[in-house]
């Protein structure tokens, strides 16, 4: 429905959705059929950012939802067209800011595909560890906030305890907690040290018990079940047509995980399962995400066990900076470093669409190179943007309170949605 139509509806009701004094209230029927339009957001604690919804209500039942997005639009795609390839990396941190590692990874994989760059195995394994840590962080945030929205406060506190531990590990390895810029084109920025490995081992050993700890709080909780079972049902064919991805799609029972379908990094060498839902509702999507945390934990464990020795970045001098001691010693390396930092590297003409499995779903980068050091076009296929589109479909016919559960289950981040 267009804004003018909404305006008409407003006009018909003289801007007052409530009953006029001279209206007959007695039979009850009249005011039940009077449609009410209310505005929710952009500043609302449970819209997970600056999402604005215009809701049409019949009593307490939602008849239509009109999402309005764009409040956090920073023009990242435009900015990316005016920076060289390495300088785009910090922008990707600001897409899905609760799991910036996977954004870095998605962009790096796309550019490497464009350049046909192969990475040493150690770099791939470190990348997988980081991506899965990020996934656990993101799902913990989802679980905590989703439970908080629905009314279970305790889970939130437990989830943030583990999330804090992982973010401290990010800080240990690259100095930043959220906007990490840790993964770079051609490898990763720093090698992981023994302290990091020991702490992560400790985490993987304890995490299974931690999941159990807060999962028992809500898994069979009657209030939780009442609020989630049968809410926001998306049948599989609808989910595919809406282009959903990630746990939102897999909760509907569609087996599409890019880590399995088109393995990148070294996911084909790792043993893990893809959890699927059956009933396509909010509860199943929550189960999927909890299961996914267990699988991510398994992946991290395997990566740590198998972690190969060797270099953390590609040998290609066109992409990576020269060794620092060489830069200090002779002029050629100094010039090389200077040139790479100031000008960056050029990529031959071509275009590529590369999809990776971010915690929210399929994070795609469509990059067109025109042969210079700056991309001609960077299109970010943001999972939150696409997943949010299904919100009107899934919340129609539910009660007003259920839209909170519907927003929570989509697990959107507006930074990625608005770009």
């Amino acid at each position: 429905m267009s804004d003018s139509k909404i305006q008409n509806l407003y006009d018909q009701r003289k801007l007052s959705p409530f009953l006029d004094d001279d209206d007959e209230i007695a039979p009850g029927e009249k005011h039940l059929h009077k449609e009410m339009i209310i505005n929710m957001g952009p500043q609302h604690p449970s819209t997970h950012g600056v999402l604005r919804l215009v809701l049409e209500l019949d009593g307490e039942t939602i008849t239509e939802v009109h999402p309005h997005i764009g409040y956090l639009h920073r023009g990242i795609e435009k900015l990316a067209e005016n920076r060289n390839y390495a300088q785009v990396m910090p922008l990707t941190d600001r897409l899905d800011y609760v799991s910036s590692m996977t954004n870095n990874l998605g962009y790096a994989v796309a550019v490497e595909k464009l350049m046909d760059l192969k990475l040493p195995p150690r770099a791939n394994y470190i990348r997988m560890i980081m991506a899965e840590m990020s996934r656990i962080c993101s799902h913990l945030l989802f679980l905590g906030c989703h439970a908080l929205d629905i009314g279970a406060m305790t889970v939130f506190l437990y989830c943030f305890r583990e999330r804090e531990y992982l973010i401290d590990l990010f800080e240990l390895i690259c100095g930043a907690r959220l906007t990490v810029t840790y993964i770079k084109i051609g490898g990763v920025r720093r090698d992981i040290n023994q302290e990091f490995i020991d702490k992560l081992y400790k985490f993987t050993e304890e995490f299974e018990a931690h999941i159990e700890e807060y999962d028992t709080l809500i898994r069979e909780n009657r209030i939780w079940l009442e609020r989630t079972v049968g809410i926001g049902v998306i049948p599989p064919d609808v989910a595919i047509s809406y282009g959903l991805s990630g746990p939102t799609l897999r909760g509907s029972g569609v087996n599409y995980d890019i880590r399995k379908a088109e393995p990148y990094c070294a996911y084909d060498e790792i043993d893990f399962e893809v959890p699927l839902g059956k009933n396509c509702d909010t509860y199943d999507r929550y189960r999927c995400r909890v299961e996914e945390m267990r699988q991510s934990n398994r992946i991290i464990r395997q990566c740590l066990d198998k972690l190969p020795k060797g270099s953390i970045q590609t040998e290609n001098p066109k992409v990576v900076l020269p060794q620092k001691d060489m830069v200090m010693r002779d002029i050629e390396h100094l010039i090389h470093q200077f040139y790479l930092v100031i000008k960056g590297f050029s990529i031959p003409k071509g275009e590529v669409y590369s999809a990776t499995e971010a915690p929210k779903g399929e994070l795609g980068f469509y990059i067109v190179s025109n042969g210079t050091n700056m991309p001609h076009r960077v299109k970010v296929r943001a999972p939150s943007f696409v997943n949010l589109e299904v919100l009107p479909y899934m919340s129609r016919g539910h009660l007003l309170a259920d839209i909170i559960a519907c927003i929570g289950t989509l697990d959107i981040v507006l930074g990625e949605c608005d770009r």
Binding site: M1, S2, D3, I69, G70, H73, G75, E77, K78, L79, N82, K113, L114, D116, V238, I240, S241, Y242, G243, V254, Y256, A261, E262, G350, E351, V352, Y353, A355, E362, G364, Y366, V368, H376, R377, K379, R381, F385, V386, E389, D418, R419
Partner: protein
């Protein structure tokens, strides 16, 4: 199916519609004329063996240096098949003075917001779109910011 087989299948059915085919990094790109895009997309979605049921991405693009016949604007459809696990990219060139193409919302519902975004940022119009208005920029905004002539700073 490999990229070559998919392209061959499109060529067999829509030979006169194709303006160019090229492969890069193992990905097939098929440029087609704008006129029959709906038929081609419908064919790709429904043909047994292809079954592109998933529109992964729809992007606009701007190439100001191209000759007029090729079209300055481009709409790029990144298709994926959840059943067959293959991808293909379809591209449509659109002229600068009248960038109009048929909407594919009837085939993939997800195209709705993608097309609104392309309209918002590039000014590409989509025929028969149910609700073609700006999505990221404010409704009263006058420009299309991802066009190449739009400055990064200054507005």
């Amino acid at each position: 199916m490999t990229q070559e087989e998919i392209v061959k299948k499109i060529e067999e059915n829509f030979e006169e519609q194709i303006t160019g085919v090229y492969y890069f990094a193992g990905q097939g790109n098929v440029s087609v004329k704008a006129k029959k895009i709906l038929d081609i997309c419908k064919f790709l979605r429904d043909e047994p063996g292809l079954e592109f049921d998933y529109l992964a991405d729809l992007a606009g693009a701007d190439y100001p240096d191209r000759p007029y016949e090729e079209g300055r604007f481009e709409v790029v459809y990144n298709l994926y098949s959840t059943k067959r696990n293959h991808r293909i990219r379809i591209k449509v060139g659109l002229p600068e003075d009248n960038p109009v193409v048929e909407s594919v919302v009837g085939l993939w519902v997800t195209a709705d917001w993608h097309e609104r975004e392309a309209f918002d940022l590039y000014g590409i119009k989509f025929n028969n779109h149910p609700n073609l208005k700006r999505i990221l920029m404010p409704d009263d905004y006058q420009w299309h910011p991802l066009r190449k002539e739009f400055p990064v700073q200054g507005y």
